[in-house]
């Protein structure tokens, strides 16, 4: 790029004045010692005057020689004369630092990892006004000099003389690059010399454009940003290409002193500097007076931070970073990785919105918190995760209501009691061991080894089929089944179905008394959703370096999938989970039973409220509670807290991921069965059975008791 002749700037004017002064001093000297008289002087052989002159000149020459020798010795001593060009390799082979970028499943950028914030912009993508602005204030003759600008040096030298120290740099952009990469920032003569020599050498190796590209991308520009691309995002919250001249001028002004002109810390000074830059641009001829007028009046709007990581899926991005560090070992920031994830940013935004719009639910629940210790904030938290259970892909994660307030990812790290949402494991084992949905239970108090769980709302003196016990979430039959089958077997099955957190080998585990993470539950339900085949949730699909070399690729699904539950048993379980919507604890969303199944989970005093469920292609889990394990009073339960949120999430997710109906495997028979007593009943509800294991009885004495209030009461009448 050629820098055309431009109007003089302030510094130029000053140096012109100085030049004028020197010229007048020289004129005065000439007037005192006219040059026409000098030959006469010199011709005076043997005269004293001539001797004196020669002696003075000789002395001066000796002084100059000495000085030169001293300088040579000094330069020798400081190593300036032996500067190795190989030192420039750092700059010549410079590879720009690059943030590691995180992409969603559709290639949209959702996050980036960095220690220093870099956004590399190739030279041809850098806006022209920015280059003009930078050159105007930093190195107007960049395209004319060979690394050093003698006029600039002179100017700086004079300024330094005046102030008796090195106050002005006068460095070219090339010098600045050299300084930033190779030298210390201290202002010494020695460094200046080195800087000049290396700058000249650098210019022999790199083109002007390359040097400028390095300069514009590598230098610190405040707010942790390195380079103009990063500065644009950090100061203005948008890509460099979207900045206008008045904003670019501000960025150009930052090179001189990024901290002094940091717009977030010193907006007034930043504005002043921006004005200087704009003026310099006018002087340099890169900005018209009219455009200058407009640009300086335009307001500058600064964004306080880069929000990409916190915009869409902050908890997910955190988790991806953690996983990537495990996979690739070590810090992944600034390594320029391209991490392709399973997240669907659009679904994530939907889920985010649902959580935001559920504020009323959270606030309502917060008002029902009881026994809150003094000073403890009444904050109701949540966690939500949506999986594609065919692949295990995590499509959306909400680790908490407010990332700014708490970065704790509850989906992956909060260990909470799942309550009744754990029961499908027990029921799966019961069905596997030969029980059927029509098997009847007398619902009463139970005790196992001094463990005395209570039914929700103290529901006793009733009867229920296994099916009804499931959808009504009655505790005592679960304890009876678990006791009969063995807690250890239940725990083993839970582990196979996806629970990674260690479960306690005690009766309370049967009712979800052992703490797990929401992701554990998502994994467990995903196995059911996937037809009984184990699913490992995954968040990362592929990691490449910036050149596209694949560093990690998610394992392909095994050719022989690991079946945990027989297909038919799994279908029976799915059917019962749909029953939860149709007849049970989620019946307020009864219509969802047509395409979804799930289970509520409410622990003692509603400290934990869960809804875990599936559609034919998705698994979703929602937890609501408090970080301090606080208790709720009143009607707070899973179906008033977690379920409505779950329903909204699934409603939105289904629009993006439509699916057919649940697949019914062969050998399944659906019959109308009395939900209380388990006999065939035309007015009963639909229950599924494995053919050959269906109920046969048409009547039950319990139906008689229910209808008449008595049995064989002939003697009573």
């Amino acid at each position: 790029m050629k820098n055309p002749r431009k109007p003089k700037n302030l510094l130029h004017v000053r140096s012109q004045k100085l030049w004028q002064r020197l010229k007048s001093a020289y004129s005065e000297l000439r007037n005192r010692f006219p040059s026409d008289r000098l030959p006469a002087w010199l011709a005076l052989r043997g005269s004293d005057r001539r001797k004196r002159v020669l002696m003075v000149l000789g002395a001066l020459g000796l002084v100059m020689l000495g000085t030169l020798m001293w300088m040579a010795l000094w330069l020798q001593q400081t190593g300036v004369l032996h500067l190795d060009e190989s030192r420039l390799t750092v700059i010549i082979d410079y590879k720009h630092s690059d943030n590691s970028l995180v992409f969603d499943r559709n290639g949209e950028k959702i996050g980036e990892f960095f220690s220093d914030y870099h956004v590399f912009v190739p030279f041809d993508k850098i806006p022209k006004p920015l280059i003009e602005a930078v050159l105007a204030v930093e190195d107007r003759h960049f395209f004319e000099h060979y690394g050093i600008d003698l006029r600039g040096i002179m100017r700086a030298f004079l300024a330094s003389m005046r102030s008796r120290g090195f106050t002005q740099g006068g460095s070219t952009i090339t010098q600045q690059v050299v300084r930033n990469f190779l030298l210390s920032p201290e202002k010494t003569f020695e460094r200046k010399i080195k800087e000049a020599i290396l700058a000249i050498q650098l210019e022999r190796h790199l083109t002007k454009e390359k040097i400028l590209e390095i300069y514009l991308n590598a230098l610190f520009l405040g707010q942790g940003a390195y380079g103009v691309g990063a500065a644009a995002e950090r100061h203005f919250g948008k890509p460099l290409q979207e900045l206008e001249t008045h904003e670019l001028a501000l960025i150009a002004g930052l090179f001189q002193s990024p901290s002094r002109y940091n717009p977030h810390k010193a907006p007034d000074q930043a504005k002043r500097r921006q004005k200087q830059v704009l003026k310099a641009m006018v002087q340099a001829g890169s900005l018209t007076a009219d455009a200058h007028k407009v640009a300086r009046k335009k307001p500058l709007v600064f964004k306080t931070q880069n929000q990409l990581n916190t915009t869409f899926a902050p908890y997910f991005v955190d988790a991806v970073q953690e996983q990537t560090e495990k996979l690739l070992t070590g810090d992944v920031r600034g390594r320029g990785l391209r991490i392709h994830t399973t997240l669907d940013v659009h679904l994530q935004e939907d889920v985010n919105k649902v959580i935001e719009q559920s504020k009323d639910i959270f606030d309502g629940a917060a008002s029902k918190l009881v026994n809150v210790p003094k000073g403890t904030p009444k904050i109701v938290e949540t966690a939500a995760v949506v999986l594609d259970h065919k692949t295990g892909d995590v499509l959306a994660i909400v680790g908490g209501r407010d990332y700014d307030r708490s970065q704790f990812n509850r989906v992956l790290k909060a260990k909470r009691q799942p309550g009744s949402s754990f029961k499908p494991v027990v029921y799966a084992l019961a069905l596997q061991s030969g029980m059927k949905w029509s098997d009847m239970f007398y619902v009463g108090p139970v005790v196992i080894q001094d463990y005395r769980p209570r039914n929700y709302a103290g529901e006793y003196l009733t009867e229920a089929t296994l099916f009804a016990a499931f959808y009504r979430s009655i505790n005592s039959p679960v304890i009876e089944i678990g006791y009969r089958l063995g807690t250890k077997r239940v725990i083993d099955l839970a582990r196979k179905m996806g629970i990674k957190t260690e479960l306690k080998n005690q009766a309370g585990t049967l009712l979800g008394g052992s703490e797990v993470t929401p992701m554990d539950m998502a994994s467990l339900y995903a196995t059911i959703g996937n037809g009984g085949v184990q699913v490992d949730p995954r968040m990362i699909l592929k990691i490449t370096d910036r050149d596209g070399t694949v560093l990690y690729s998610a394992p392909q699904p095994p050719k022989k999938p690991k079946r945990i539950l027989p297909e038919q048993i799994n279908y029976l379980l799915t059917d019962a989970m749909r029953g939860v919507f149709k007849y049970g604890t989620a019946s307020q969303f009864g219509e969802m039973g047509a395409y979804a199944g799930g289970k509520t989970g409410t622990t003692d005093e509603a400290k934990d409220n869960w809804f875990c469920g599936i559609t034919p292609n998705l698994t979703a889990v929602v937890w609501v509670g408090t970080d301090n394990n606080l208790a709720f009073s009143g009607t707070v339960a899973a179906n008033t807290l977690a379920l409505p949120i779950w329903a909204k999430i699934v409603h939105k997710a289904r629009k993006r991921y439509p699916a057919d109906e649940f697949v019914v495997p062969e050998g399944i028979k659906t019959l109308k069965v009395n939900p209380h007593f388990g006999h065939l009943d035309p007015s009963g509800i639909d229950m599924s059975f494995i053919e050959g294991r269906e109920p046969k009885r048409m009547e039950s004495a319990l139906s008689v008791v229910r209808e008449t209030g008595n049995f064989r009461d002939f003697l009573d009448r």
Binding site: R452, L461, E463, R697, E699, A701, N710, D713, F714
Partner: protein, 491 residues
């Protein structure tokens, strides 16, 4: 052939009785005006009263032997021929059995069961409706009962009346039967009090059932029995009989302890009291347990739940009689297990007998017993067949209730028609034939007499033992043949 033979046999058996009755009655209707006045005051007036119950459109046939009674007055006893008129009226009947039952309105289901049972009976005997058996709908209320009774007596001239399915009807029918000297078979159990001459009770007798239980208790050396019963139980009579018999046998009885079967806290409270869970004298024991629980919770690092601490039960009874149906028994058993009361023998009543008593199995009930008046459902008399569950001892669902009714109705019709068979007796003398009628052969109801001396029916008592997922007959008491041990351990 067997029917003809039976009728012939009945006729032969009843001949001497009939002759004797005639002699007695003839003497009663002598021209002695004092006797006439007595008869008039007790019986004729009753007929006249009953006539007034007839609906306005009902027409008494002109040739009805009862018609002359309408214009009769007490002073007419002095007139010659009055006694004959009365005798004829009280003697003559049409040889039919009239059933007065609630076939409609509430509670009609039982009435419908009975009606079905009647049809079943007639079909089995090849009878045409109206020939030997007539029926009228009482709608389950007294006024309608009396109107229908008036109709079957005055208009149709029925010989024996069967009714009183419900206890609210039975006393009125009994009252009228005695006043009218018309034999009545009440389809319910015999109430306390003196026996009625003309009324017979076909319902199984709770005293026999109570006796079965007390005998079992005595045999097992059970010395202390608690009785538990639901609120508003209809089994007070059985409880009272058990209590009386047990005390007679020096068995200490506690209760009845009454609970509300719809309220768990009621049952819970009662059990805690019965097993001394909350006795103040056990406070120190409780404190010790609480401290141990706290320590254990601390060691496990789990929160201490005071509600999970329950003192072990103090069991100071040898058995508990639960006078309730199987469903509540199951719930009570569960609650007992919750408090650590395991396999304490429970004594039960016929309402226990349902498949759902043992299914799903409850180990806590193993060793318990209950009594019933029915044995195997596969050996029912009168060709009655019911669907069963688990072979022979459980009838399917509502069949268990209806078979009781069917059996009683069949048994009542059998005895009534048996009384009407053979040489015709005057109506007022039919009760004698009922007193001596014999049960059907080859069933657990077989025996020389259907009714006992107090006119209650002779039902056997079966003692069933509850096993793990099954019941078995432990003992059978036939009132006439005495106790029989059975080798059957599994139905």
């Amino acid at each position: 052939m067997p029917v003809r033979f039976m009728l012939l046999l009945l006729a032969c058996l009843s001949w001497p009785l009939r002759a004797q009755t005639n002699a007695e009655e003839q003497s009663a209707v002598s021209n002695d005006s004092e006797l006439c006045s007595k008869l008039f005051a007790k019986t004729v007036v009753a007929y006249q009263d009953l006539h007034r119950k007839l609906p306005p459109n009902a027409i008494v046939p002109a040739n009805s032997p009862l018609a002359p009674l309408l214009g009769l007055h007490a002073e007419d006893c002095g007139q010659p021929g009055t006694m004959e008129l009365i005798e004829k009226a009280l003697t003559t009947h049409n040889g039919k059995v009239a059933l007065l039952l609630p076939f409609s309105k509430m509670p009609k289901s039982a009435g419908q069961d009975v009606l079905r049972s009647v049809h079943e009976w007639m079909q089995s005997k090849g009878l045409v409706p109206g020939r030997l058996i007539i029926w009228r709908d009482t709608e389950g209320n007294r006024e309608k009962l009396e109107r229908q009774l008036a109709h079957v007596i005055w208009v149709q001239g029925a010989s024996i009346v069967i009714g009183g399915l419900f206890q609210n009807e039975a006393p009125f029918l009994t009252q009228w039967a005695d006043r009218l000297r018309v034999p009545a078979i009440i389809l319910n159990r015999r109430p306390e009090g003196p026996a009625s001459k003309y009324t017979f009770y076909m319902g199984p007798d709770y005293r026999l059932l109570a006796s079965g239980l007390t005998r079992y208790a005595l045999g097992r050396n059970i010395k202390r029995v608690a009785i538990m019963a639901p609120q508003f139980s209809h089994d007070e009579a059985l409880i009272a009989a058990f209590r009386a018999q047990a005390q007679h046998l020096r068995i200490q009885v506690t209760g009845p302890l009454i609970y509300n079967p719809a309220d768990y806290s009621s049952i819970d409270g009662l059990l805690r009291k019965l097993f001394h869970i909350d006795d103040e004298s056990r406070n120190e024991e409780l404190l010790e347990l609480v401290n141990k629980g706290k320590e254990a919770a601390e060691q496990l690092g789990v929160p201490f739940d005071a509600k999970s601490i329950v003192l072990p039960p103090v069991i100071d009874v040898d058995a508990i009689l639960i006078a309730d149906h199987f469903k509540n028994v199951r719930h009570l058993s569960k609650s007992m297990a919750f408090y650590g009361v395991k396999r304490l023998p429970l004594l039960g009543i016929p309402k226990w007998r349902a498949f759902e008593l043992i299914e799903p199995a409850d180990e806590n009930l193993v060793g318990s017993v209950f009594v019933d008046y029915l044995g195997s459902y596969k050996q029912l008399p009168y060709g009655i067949q019911v669907p069963t569950v688990d072979k022979e001892y459980f009838a399917e669902g509502p069949a268990a209730g209806s078979v009781d009714l069917r059996l009683v109705v069949h048994h009542a019709l059998f005895s009534a028609l048996q009384a009407l068979g053979g040489p015709r007796s005057p109506r007022y003398a039919l009760y004698k034939k009922l007193e001596t009628s014999a049960g059907p052969r080859e069933s657990f109801l077989s025996g020389p007499q259907i009714f006992r001396a107090d006119h209650s029916a002779n039902w056997p008592t079966f003692l069933f033992g509850v096993g793990s997922g099954s019941i078995s007959v432990l003992q059978v008491w036939n009132p006439l043949t005495g106790p029989t041990r059975t080798s059957s351990s599994r139905p």
